[in-house]
Symmetry: D4
Amino acid sequence: MNASQLKSLLDHVASGQVDTGEAERQLLDALRERPFENLGFARIDHHRAVRQGFPEVVLGLGKTPAQVAAIAQEIAGRGSTLLVTRAPLEMYEAVKAVLRSAIYLPTARLITLQQQDIARGAGQILVVAAGTSDLPVAEEAACTAELMGNDVERLYDVGVAGIHRLLNERRRLADARVIIVVAGMEGALPSVVSGLVSVPVIAVPTSIGYGASFGGIAALLGMLNSCASGVSVVNIDNGFGAANIASLINHL
Amino acid sequence: MNASQLKSLLDHVASGQVDTGEAERQLLDALRERPFENLGFARIDHHRAVRQGFPEVVLGLGKTPAQVAAIAQEIAGRGSTLLVTRAPLEMYEAVKAVLRSAIYLPTARLITLQQQDIARGAGQILVVAAGTSDLPVAEEAACTAELMGNDVERLYDVGVAGIHRLLNERRRLADARVIIVVAGMEGALPSVVSGLVSVPVIAVPTSIGYGASFGGIAALLGMLNSCASGVSVVNIDNGFGAANIASLINHL
Amino acid sequence: MNASQLKSLLDHVASGQVDTGEAERQLLDALRERPFENLGFARIDHHRAVRQGFPEVVLGLGKTPAQVAAIAQEIAGRGSTLLVTRAPLEMYEAVKAVLRSAIYLPTARLITLQQQDIARGAGQILVVAAGTSDLPVAEEAACTAELMGNDVERLYDVGVAGIHRLLNERRRLADARVIIVVAGMEGALPSVVSGLVSVPVIAVPTSIGYGASFGGIAALLGMLNSCASGVSVVNIDNGFGAANIASLINHL
Amino acid sequence: MNASQLKSLLDHVASGQVDTGEAERQLLDALRERPFENLGFARIDHHRAVRQGFPEVVLGLGKTPAQVAAIAQEIAGRGSTLLVTRAPLEMYEAVKAVLRSAIYLPTARLITLQQQDIARGAGQILVVAAGTSDLPVAEEAACTAELMGNDVERLYDVGVAGIHRLLNERRRLADARVIIVVAGMEGALPSVVSGLVSVPVIAVPTSIGYGASFGGIAALLGMLNSCASGVSVVNIDNGFGAANIASLINHL
Amino acid sequence: MNASQLKSLLDHVASGQVDTGEAERQLLDALRERPFENLGFARIDHHRAVRQGFPEVVLGLGKTPAQVAAIAQEIAGRGSTLLVTRAPLEMYEAVKAVLRSAIYLPTARLITLQQQDIARGAGQILVVAAGTSDLPVAEEAACTAELMGNDVERLYDVGVAGIHRLLNERRRLADARVIIVVAGMEGALPSVVSGLVSVPVIAVPTSIGYGASFGGIAALLGMLNSCASGVSVVNIDNGFGAANIASLINHL
Amino acid sequence: MNASQLKSLLDHVASGQVDTGEAERQLLDALRERPFENLGFARIDHHRAVRQGFPEVVLGLGKTPAQVAAIAQEIAGRGSTLLVTRAPLEMYEAVKAVLRSAIYLPTARLITLQQQDIARGAGQILVVAAGTSDLPVAEEAACTAELMGNDVERLYDVGVAGIHRLLNERRRLADARVIIVVAGMEGALPSVVSGLVSVPVIAVPTSIGYGASFGGIAALLGMLNSCASGVSVVNIDNGFGAANIASLINHL
Amino acid sequence: MNASQLKSLLDHVASGQVDTGEAERQLLDALRERPFENLGFARIDHHRAVRQGFPEVVLGLGKTPAQVAAIAQEIAGRGSTLLVTRAPLEMYEAVKAVLRSAIYLPTARLITLQQQDIARGAGQILVVAAGTSDLPVAEEAACTAELMGNDVERLYDVGVAGIHRLLNERRRLADARVIIVVAGMEGALPSVVSGLVSVPVIAVPTSIGYGASFGGIAALLGMLNSCASGVSVVNIDNGFGAANIASLINHL
Amino acid sequence: MNASQLKSLLDHVASGQVDTGEAERQLLDALRERPFENLGFARIDHHRAVRQGFPEVVLGLGKTPAQVAAIAQEIAGRGSTLLVTRAPLEMYEAVKAVLRSAIYLPTARLITLQQQDIARGAGQILVVAAGTSDLPVAEEAACTAELMGNDVERLYDVGVAGIHRLLNERRRLADARVIIVVAGMEGALPSVVSGLVSVPVIAVPTSIGYGASFGGIAALLGMLNSCASGVSVVNIDNGFGAANIASLINHL
């Protein structure tokens, strides 16, 4: 029973559509469910949608396809929406074998199966990417934000070395309620974007670059040291995390 | 002319309290002001309050007391609210010599002079600190957030090694619209807090610790790698930045 | 001749079951054995079980399958229990070719052949793992501790972002005499666990994570900077080492 | 009410020395005490001695003398034993002003006031130091372990460059139940010590050294990579932490 | 004899103003001078002006005032222009004691004594600084470039968080033949500047910042990873080096 | 319409070869072209040749062959010269499938198609490489500089451990207007070269080396700390960037 | 003409076996040879044997098999001894195709072809290795030292965790004139060895280890910080370099 | 009794100057002396001169003046030569108070008192320094080497940016039996020196530099990655260690 099911039940009780005996029975059933399902190698948090507005998301990285398939079956079996991140194709195939209708977003490396209505965010989330090579991370962010109930706009290949590409799009920057900025190399784009808007900017460094980019450290440090004070930062390549935070903000 | 002054003028025009000729004159005057005042060593952004809701804030670190006093005089002279961060006592003395009514918050190391009405944020910002040693950073965050028009609550010395100190305060966690978590050493507190709430968490690593804390790197890395997906991070000891972002969110 | 064989011999002498002439002969034989067998590329320490309670353990990493097979044959040929860590499947195959009864634990990547009675530890060793991806390291620890004569309990997927999963298992935490905590990412779990118990906690950072986890550095630093004072740390992914220390403690 | 006071009360009830009414009253009083005393800037854990066998220890580093004096007064006022680590002389003076009988151990930089009987550890803790410069950390460990109820032996200036200094003391190594090894520079001593004994070794890297010792990183890495498998490690210069763990082990 | 003195002599010979006997005598005298004057602790390169267009410059850092005074006397005694960088006030005082007419530029921390005509560079060198705190490094660059015979323009406090401050000055960017960009924190300014011009940009990271700026590493990495391909980089805080390179380019 | 086409058109107008009506039409057509072509995943900057003297260059690294082929077609379709860097063979094959006449330089890993006249640089660019292993980076620099309109000389395998190999070639060093020095390992060559010449030196660290070369960090740090003041540095392995800067200088 | 050929020629002149005309002719021929043979991608130093006692050694790493084969042919064609380090098998095959008698040492990864008499070193070089996994580096050192004319002894698998394995071999340590110590992990062995002898110790860190060994950094730092003052260090895995230095010393 | 005293005694026995009874008595006395004098905080190794040719040297760094004075008195009291390194002036004053004739070398920061004849090294040790700022480390090396019985030459301020300063001194390079090269910044000098000679080069990185020199890391890495194969390296600023190794080599 998630938050909207609960609200609906109480509304029905208040309006007399459901009597208190039936309501009591349903609530007891819900409470009887174990909040964590222990698969031995994993504990699935079935109350997360209640607590945090979206069901538990599975990080594919470091798990075997078989483990993810078992977790996915458990989550989807309860009627929850499934989201697996960092999923290679073979992981999708293992999931698809047990969940026929699961779909795969290859650039974003996401497996998903939408089963619940998700509350809609209040405004628009804009995902900005500095370069073409940052697209996998940007798409992970954009698709995740969409799945979490947000309107998402994309603005790609507007790195700071050609600042007019960004300035030409100021209107779209101004329309966003939250902005995710994805950049590798020197990671300067969030500073410039944040200086142009008055909404929170979530910066995602990417591991794109070579030599002294050190797998994204240069971009990460650039973003942490942003001279613009509206920028907060997530882990390197963590498009999912940025989308999750942006969605939390957009649902306030 | 800041955003609320502009809105007020337009309202007066609409209501007939101000005629269009007068309105035009005032608007032209405002546009005639140079948006950046160039002091040679610094350019002060007088339109920032219009663009971003709060006047330009002065980072005291790396500037001389004389430079900060001159900048402060320029900002306050336009009727804007003054905020100087990372200000040692001697910097305050230099500012006070030119701005009698400026006040100093020693734990937070802030100089301030409130002169404008600031729009109020929608909910409560909770500042959580792991240990007593993190207070200077936590207070920089809390005082900044207050100056930016937010209700601020404080919850200090609730580090993860005594988890019940935090769990005892779940009610206060639940009441916040945005949470700032300040922690040094292993920086684990944001992960735990984020797992207990459904609002955005801004994590501030502090340079508190010794040995392998490396001046806050351990806490910074801990927060960037948080297994809780609602955490974004600012620079080490950057209480001001965290408050600024929290305030942007709380004003959405 | 290991410690228990020696004790048994002396007991038999004391009780008259073995006469002193026979005992002298056996002891001289034992002393005549070379304590180190030099294979040229490796020196095998045959007295280690006497000195440290468990025969020499072979680190498979960096050795060729042929080298490990030769070492294994030498160890097992003396009647000692064999334990090879970090063993890929092909290494097991090389060992199996010379030691038919050797077995392989694939998740833990261990080759083993139990041949001796090992003294039992006094209490229970609990192996706690933060996430599903930490299982290979957790299993290396759990299986090693079992081979070294300890009762081992497992508690997996109880990371700090869902703190109730851990708090629900406080009874099992309280039952342990030593606790091994395995965690990647921010490595915060040992701090929380240590705050809940009064027994030593051995923390094992894992290389699980991405971006700023830097192959386990973030977890390692988090554990070294633990605000809980009962935590000591071993190398990244060193499940074996943690088990060895926990076993030494549990045999006190 | 700590663990031994509780046990004593129950014994008296059982033997009829205290009637149940009186016992009930005393227990209710104890439960009525707030487990955490909130000083605003610090929460003092008064139940820690019950949970972990020793009252909460105060880390002086990063706190002001006034804060530490207030915390010390609160702890000592409940009749608990006081221990403040990393205390400079001026901090001691602030504490002494409110707690006349507090004493100061200058090499170990500890402030202490013993007020409770502490349970004795089962065996001997040996503190080994590689060089003369490591003494402050070694003494922090040794004095802490003594305060926590352990017999402590010291073995100083036995670094690996003159291996016979160590080998000459093998008897004392063999007598210990737990060994703390303190070393800076290359941090090699724990590996050698661990190879000579069959008890757990807690290694403490120190910041002693220069150049590529990087404030203790070289020693820390050396210890984490120890080829001896009975070594676990605490933070650089963390003599207190090592003693706390050693004491936990020695009290098993 | 520097390059222009040589050229002048040869011109005079060609024009008959100086006869070949006199020219021969002068050239032999010049060749007889030792190209390096060995002071024991320093070897002064008196032919550097011939080889590289400007006399040897003295890095004050790491030398004692007495050493610098002796070197300065040697350089100035040959009629060469003196330039000492990274000079604290007390170093200037030691130099002034032996060279009355030496002057001191305190913000730039330079000691200088102009004695020779320096060839003029072909165009303008523009020194751009991101923030007020970067001024010491920017002034070291600007004053050095002036001393080396270049027209220098300054453009300060135009960091990327307020991009219009920079765009408003595009005309001045366009007028430069070489641009030096000085920036701390995230070091993003050179990328933006380079994207707006078609001349070489020399980037100077500064140690301005805190926390994860790591004394200028963040800015340095940002600049090395610039997505604009016209940026080359010098050491952190190396204003002198940037000016020297810019001057070499401007003299082509 | 690039800079030379524009100049030519205006010359023709001035000389009467083209009438103003026709000129106006051509200029309007040029202005009507969108300066950035947005392919969704990439925005191609068609005015870059006007602004910076050479069309936009495509960094192959991190892009898919299909993306690069689409971008290449767009660039070449406008009649611009194509340059793709860091291109593996399969990327070339994808480009060749759509642009028959594109050629591939395998050592330099460049795809190119020359379609425009490029302005010639004023002097010679010398590319110096320390060792045979540095050739791929040196060739990337040399071929890029040639494509950008410069005379290029090569001087390879003249590392500092055999200093006479370099000194024997002083004549060629003296002939250059700009020098690119490519070196891995300790990266000492630029310091020595810069001390021998009076022209700017662009240093390129390479990732050649092993162990403590850390993928080029040792060379990078060596170059940034050069005791010769005429050296500026680009990213590790960034032969293209060095050539671009050298070309900008050589076109002054 | 190498040093011994030169000495022999002069002896023959002195003894009258060769007349001065013939000697002059031979010397002129030798001087006429170009000291560096320029293959374009490599310059081969044919006088190195004269200057440094052994012909130029080829580092295979980073070169193509074809390049190495060409260089090998050039070196061997002059009658010099060939030594290629870091040579994979396919490189050997390319060399063997042009130099039939070249041989390959697979553990040491060396290609060699002995063609000259090398002067013999004065004493014994002992190569000590901590573990079995260090053998490739130890063998690179041992085989190189043998090729350079030294008597070499090997002492393998004597790591510090079992100190008696080393102490049992003190006689062999005492017999050496120079000692090379090869160790990974914590790199403690050189300190212990150096404390037992009075000859120079060359320490070679290896990349053996995992986790916080960071590819040999832990061992490198351990060796640089050795508390024994007779230890100098070469690059990680640089067995060749250690042997070269040891041989230089042994030939003094 | 040191090695020369022992040899002298045996010679006297052989020649009949001392009878065997007396010799036996003296030898027993010597053996009765404890090889390590345990001062509690330090163990002084009185047999070191026998084992390693020079008495134990005291590292002043990290010890208190009082500790060093006590150690110095113990060493000098046995008639051994005293050497204290890294000694600030106040340490010297403490030593002088107990050892009137101890002398202080301020640039080298050494306290010394020569009391024994030290065996002379076979050749000359040359100490080369790159810059004036490297002198404290160079003098530590040079003075130490002199005290250890070696002829020492100095060659200072010959950094690679003015390569002719070094090449002019090739004769002095050629005269040395061992060369110590001291350099900060990029640390390139050892590579160049080693390429010019055929004797071992001991490289000492110094902490001289700023910015990306990282306290000597740049120089250290440069030296470890030297492309010249005759270079081994000691810790940053470790002039003493370099001298000790050079002396060991020079005494072979």
